[in-house]
């Protein structure tokens, strides 16, 4: 992965509204074909970050480079290489699914190159996102999950090199969410398109992302694969046992040693021993808590 081209480079990004810093010194990179997930609680600055990269918002300071261009000065040619998955609400309600995809795709035809034929064929895209049966339905007749699939299809219709998705599964039921994850995984498998998505759902980040950036209070507090994050912060394991009919429970980063000590001291008198390893969720929560208390101390 590291030999792939850098398509997204953010350095010292800052965003300030009035006197409040919404983002401070945010830096990260993404390489071609990577699935990057911006994870963080609500209000952490995820949407602001993604909108700056989409070219929809002007930053206060820092360097941002998306596909070799500063999004604040991105022209239409740049725009044609970037896909944005917007959350539809009731726009284009009278349009039929295929009609809308064909129409929006037609803007990309002028940006077709020898290497990349633009846009995707509407029918092929409809099949890919699983809307074959709804192809001739009006957009307003679609269910929430179907609409979101259409949103993805619209984001992809120009065959972008980089796709942005802001909270793509917010408000979806579990089944629709699962279907959506499969769609993104399928896209990621092809390895062509770089994907940047935001979520506040840890399980989603773990499932989809090659790399997770944890954003809290406008700063990146962790950056790595799910496994790296779990290692980076030695989350506390939980050890529980019974002795003489009483239950005990202790949190520790050294669970093996604790268990060894227990047996050394009490031998067979120890019962119901259970060691629960720190999960990524615990890691995430302790990360966010730690950052919050540091933020409050400052």
């Amino acid at each position: 992965m590291t030999d792939r081209a850098v398509v997204l480079h953010v350095e010292g990004l800052r965003m300030r509204y009035g006197t409040t810093d919404v983002l401070r010194d945010v830096s990260f990179q993404a390489r071609q074909g990577e699935v990057l997930c911006l994870l963080g609680p609500n209000g952490a600055g995820k949407t602001t970050t993604i909108e700056i990269m989409e070219g929809f918002r002007l930053r206060s300071a820092g360097q941002v480079d998306v596909l070799g261009t500063d999004p604040a000065r991105g022209d239409e040619h740049w725009r044609a290489r970037v896909g944005i998955v917007l959350q539809s609400w009731r726009d284009h309600g009278k349009w039929r699914v295929r009609e809308l995809l064909e129409h929006l795709g037609s803007y990309y035809r002028a940006y077709s190159t020898e290497a990349t034929t633009r846009p995707w064929d509407a029918q092929r895209l409809i099949t890919a996102v699983g809307l074959t049966e709804q192809a001739d339905k009006k957009v307003r007749m679609l269910s929430g999950g179907q609409r979101r699939r259409l949103d993805v299809a619209i984001g992809l219709v120009g065959r972008p090199e980089l796709v942005f998705l802001d909270e793509p599964t917010a408000g979806l039921d579990p089944v629709a969410r699962h279907g959506f994850h499969e769609l993104i995984e399928g896209l990621a498998e092809e390895g062509e398109t770089t994907i940047l998505l935001t979520t506040h759902d840890l399980a989603e980040a773990e499932k989809l992302a090659d790399r997770i950036l944890v954003l809290e209070g406008g700063r990146i507090i962790a950056d790595g694969t799910a496994a790296e994050l779990a290692r980076q912060i030695a989350g506390e394991d939980e050890v529980s046992w019974t002795h003489c009919g009483r239950s005990f429970r202790q949190s520790t980063t050294e669970s093996t040693r604790l268990v060894f000590e227990l047996f050394k001291e009490y031998g067979e008198a120890i019962g119901d021993l259970e060691v629960r390893r720190a999960s990524l969720e615990d890691t995430y929560l302790s990360l966010v808590r730690q950052a919050e208390s540091e933020g409050a101390a400052r």
Partner: protein, 282 residues
Amino acid sequence: MNPTVMAWRAGWSRGVIELRQSLTNAGDLFNHFFWPVLMLGATFFMRDVSFGQSGFTLGALALPSILGMNAAMSMVSMSQQLTADREDGTLLRAKATPNGMIGYLTGKIISVSGGLVVDLAIFLVPGLFIISSLAVDDASSWLTLIWVLVLGLVATLPIGAVLGSVFVSARSQGLLQLPILAMIAISGIFYPITALPEWVQWIAQAFPVYWLGLGMRSALLPDSAVITEIGESWRHLETIGVLGAWAVLGLVLAPIVLRRMARGESGSSVAARREKALQRTG
């Protein structure tokens, strides 16, 4: 092919698709018929009421004026549609698409003007059966009607786009209706303007509604009807002057205001409006 040309073509087909949609769904069809039918009713009741010693009935004077008023009202549809499209995220999609704003605006111009032509026909065709004293046998009448209509659209659509960008919510669009109704009331649509006090006439002559009405009357009424007009003249030069001035004003302002409005659009601004709208309804 040049991307901009391609966007114009995409915009053209966008406009045609939107027009077709508005002619094939019950709610929009109702809107297309509502005002023309109401106006036909008004014309019907004025068909035998004569205006002073002019020898013309109020119905004959009003029919072309109403056409002109309808043409001017495309300003309102433009403005309202722009506000609605901004609110629901249509505009944001255009912004996320290469040259999407060009396509969007081209499409809007096509669909609003196309819709207007449909509305005018719904009114004019039956109207010609109610009012028989119009001068419609002459090709020059129709030629005048066409240039007045085209010039009127060039004058009013950009202004509509400006209003749509400035008045951000559907609610403020509602408020906009009041001054527009007042403007119609003083523009000599339903009653000749020469019957109004002179200072009111001056105000009316600053706005496009009066001039569109005058232009349409000059197209469809016999020449002898000119005695009901200010200065007993059709004043084509002045019509071109005033409508042209509005066109220039609109065409200068619209790109600036539209660009400024589009700049502020993002996923979160649409989400915020959705949130607000859901709170209102829910």
